[in-house]
């Protein structure tokens, strides 16, 4: 069967046998013969728009110039990709493209490779980049399934646009068209004003399937359901089709896994303070006002700029401000100190000094350099020439009052050391945002029956003596879910929590609290009031004896049964009725 479907042909005097339905371009590729293309992409239906892939088809009596990307192979075909006629036609087509889109770099590059210096044809618009390859249109239709853009008009007016050139309702803002465009004619910014779905990233586009960060554990990509085109239109699945291991499954569902465990360590972490809550700082309004984590991404060698510190316009900043205590030590948001911000701000200042020539300003309330070697680092920064201004920034605006402030971000701050309000123009401002408990902290606390402090961080059993345990046995705390803390402190607490959890698990036995209930057999009338009251089902009714019995292993010693016992048969060890009566008498003695 498969033998019948094989087709033999000759390309550049080399014979090859391929499956039926293969295109000439694919067959040539199998022979390592390079045919240049501009409008071809393996995931799209061929369209033969650029006509750069033309080849010569030779038959007995004539030769013909055909496009190789969309012509299927036929039995006994003889193809020349490098004949005079083929190359001539290709050069001519490239010259036509050079006239059509003089600003398209890929065309210029291809022309150079082919030895074409300039086009013979008239150039209509020297700024034009679009080569009308239709990759964007095909992507939008075939891959995304949105059909938001299409070719409009005809002849020399032909161009790509949304219906009537208006913002299209059909556009889902996936930016796939910008991604696929070979000439950068459609840019991310063109689509940005519309419904961009990559809301997470402000520092350039990211993909819907990605590894969260380069240091991620496990190092596995995930699909951002909100950004993924498949979940918008039901189409695409490009990643799944390309994955050789067939590891991508769009139909995967969340599953709940039940585990039997004896101890639990809570390490649920923190949430970054949402800087847009402080409207005076303009986060979200000004492109160059970024948060600490965004700067961290920017300065990362695997980040969007390859580790270069650049403003939104692509230029290196000349003055950078770092604002401390954003969302911390502020009655309006969080009263507590987030502890880590001073030190990471200093690190930013140091990185900025290392990588740029910018003037760096640190706006602080108090420098809190509490850790080992931290104060020394602060002194190093002072020597490096970072300008430290003591005072809380009141406003970041773009309203210029003088010529030198034009086009800059103006930081208004009261410099409390010189006693004056200053306006300092900046190119970039980094907000050192504080740490907040994650949103569902109260919910988690309920699940594990532990308490939260007023700012909803988890409450430890004792601030000094039991900083990683909780009031519930077997539940331990590690990291910033308990309070904001830096990495060394988190590691130390996590180690302690792990050791305590292991100590419990390793022993295999559990020490019971001595405070449990006991029932006096002689007094118990067997009324069973206590049996229904016990929240731990620790009391059972002994039918033979006609009395209720406490299971010491289950009893937690709350004493609910004791206070309900009508005959006083149930008593709580260490909290007997008589003991408490004596206590009452004692404290009320005149």
């Amino acid at each position: 069967m498969s033998e019948e479907n094989k087709i033999k042909l000759t390309i550049n005097d080399k014979a090859i046998e391929v499956d039926e339905g293969t295109t000439i371009l694919q067959a040539a590729k199998a022979l390592d013969i390079d045919i240049p293309t501009l409008c071809y992409h393996p995931i799209l239906e061929p369209y033969a728009a650029c006509r750069v892939c033309v080849v010569e088809k030779i038959t007995e009596d004539k030769s013909e110039i055909i496009t190789s990307c969309n012509t299927k192979v036929k039995k006994g075909m003889v193809i020349k990709t490098d004949s005079e006629a083929a190359v001539g036609a290709r050069k001519m087509n490239i010259e036509l493209l050079m006239a059509q889109a003089p600003a398209a770099d890929v065309v210029q590059k291809l022309a150079q490779e082919m030895g074409i210096e300039k086009t013979r044809f008239a150039i209509a618009d020297p700024e034009e980049k679009c080569i009308l390859c239709g990759m964007c249109v095909r992507t939008c239709q075939q891959i995304v399934g949105a059909e938001a853009i299409s070719f409009i008009e005809r002849g020399k007016n032909r161009n790509v646009s949304t219906p009537f050139g208006e913002v299209s309702e059909a556009c889902i803002g996936c930016t796939a068209c910008a991604y696929i465009c070979p000439t950068e004619c459609i840019t991310f910014e063109d689509i940005k004003g519309r419904k961009v779905i990559h809301s997470e990233m402000t520092l350039g586009p990211s993909t819907a399937i990605r590894v969260p960060i380069r240091q991620a554990v496990p190092m596995v990509p995930f699909i951002d359901e909100e950004a993924c085109i498949h979940f918008k239109t039901g189409e695409c699945k490009v990643c799944a089709n390309l994955c050789a291991k067939e590891a991508i499954d769009h139909d995967m569902q969340d599953e709940e896994i039940e585990l039997d465990v004896g101890t639990v360590i809570l390490a649920t972490g923190y949430k970054e303070f949402d800087a847009s809550r402080i409207s005076a700082y303009g986060y979200g309004r000004f492109d160059n006002v970024i948060t600490g984590l965004e700067f961290e991404k920017l300065v990362n060698a695997s980040g969007p700029t390859g580790g270069k510190i650049l403003c939104a316009n692509g230029e290196e900043p000349k003055a950078v401000g770092i604002v401390h205590c954003v969302g911390s030590r502020d009655e309006r948001y969080n009263e507590y100190c987030s502890r880590v911000c001073c030190m990471y701000s200093l690190k930013f200042a140091h990185l900025l000094k290392e990588k740029t020539d910018a003037d760096i300003y640190d706006f602080y309330i108090d420098m809190r350099c509490f850790g080992k070697g931290y104060e020394e680092f602060y002194h190093r920064l002072l020597e490096e020439g970072t300008r430290f201004i003591r005072g809380r920034v009141s406003e970041i605006s773009d309203i210029a009052l003088s010529k030198e402030e034009e086009g800059k971000l103006i930081v208004r701050v009261e410099d409390t050391l010189i006693g004056a309000v200053r306006r300092i123009p900046m190119d970039m401002v980094i907000l050192s945002t504080g740490l907040e408990p994650s949103m569902d902290h109260n919910k988690i606390a309920k699940v594990f029956n532990i308490s939260c402090t007023q700012d909803t961080f988890f409450l430890e059993r004792h601030p000094k003596l039991a900083p990683s345990s909780t009031f519930t046995d077997g539940i331990f705390l590690a990291g910033s879910c308990q309070s904001p803390k830096d990495i060394p402190d988190t590691v130390a607490q996590a180690g302690a929590a792990a050791a305590e959890a292991l100590a419990l698990a390793d022993r295999g036995t559990f020490e019971l609290e001595p405070i449990t209930a006991e029932i006096d057999e002689d007094l118990c009338a067997g009324c069973q009031v206590c049996v229904n009251l016990c929240p731990f089902q620790a009391i059972t009714y002994d039918k033979e004896k006609g009395i209720s019995v406490v299971n010491d292993a289950l009893c937690k010693g709350c004493g609910t049964c004791v206070s309900a016992c009508p005959s006083g048969a149930s008593q709580q060890k260490h909290f007997r009725d008589q003991q408490i009566f004596a206590e009452i008498e004692g404290i009320l003695i005149e």
């Binding site: 308490s451 601030p463 709350c558 004493g559």
Partner: protein
């Protein structure tokens, strides 16, 4: 006895997990509160037997406070709900005895609420000071 010189005697039954820890926090945080509150620790607010409250009034307390974990936060799942039910019933009974129900309070104070405990103590003391000393028939015969 004039009300100005009157210092009320208050008894507070605090659950060990939330309110007692909250009171402890008020202490470690050096929050001063009225010294009239005399605290008895119980494992759970559900342990507070109505007899304890009656005993406290009998021994000369002018007010009694039961304080437990916030609803849903009980270390023993539902002891504070039992306390709530008993408080309702006992308040009615106290009124029949001629004890104003304002003298018997139930509060929810969590382990983190040192400041709330401070407030509760100060407020309760002030309230009882205004009401005057406990007399078994509501002060009508005096």
């Amino acid at each position: 006895m004039s009300n100005e010189a009157f210092e009320p005697k208050l008894v507070g039954f605090l659950c060990t997990w939330c309110s007692y820890t909250g009171a402890d926090l008020a202490g470690t945080a050096r929050m001063a509160y009225a010294p009239n509150m005399r605290i008895i620790r119980v494992m759970c607010s559900g342990r507070v037997d109505p007899q304890f409250v009656l005993k406290a009034f009998k021994e000369g307390a002018d007010g009694v406070l039961i304080s437990g974990c916030h609803p849903g936060d009980c270390h023993y799942k539902e002891g504070n709900y039992n306390a709530l039910r008993r408080h309702r019933l006992l308040s009615k009974m106290l009124e029949q005895f001629g004890i104003e129900k304002e003298r018997f309070r139930l509060e929810w104070v969590s382990a983190a609420e040192g400041a709330k405990f401070q407030n509760v103590c100060n407020e309760f003391t002030e309230q009882i000071r205004e009401m005057g000393p406990l007399s078994w028939n509501g002060g009508k015969n005096e």
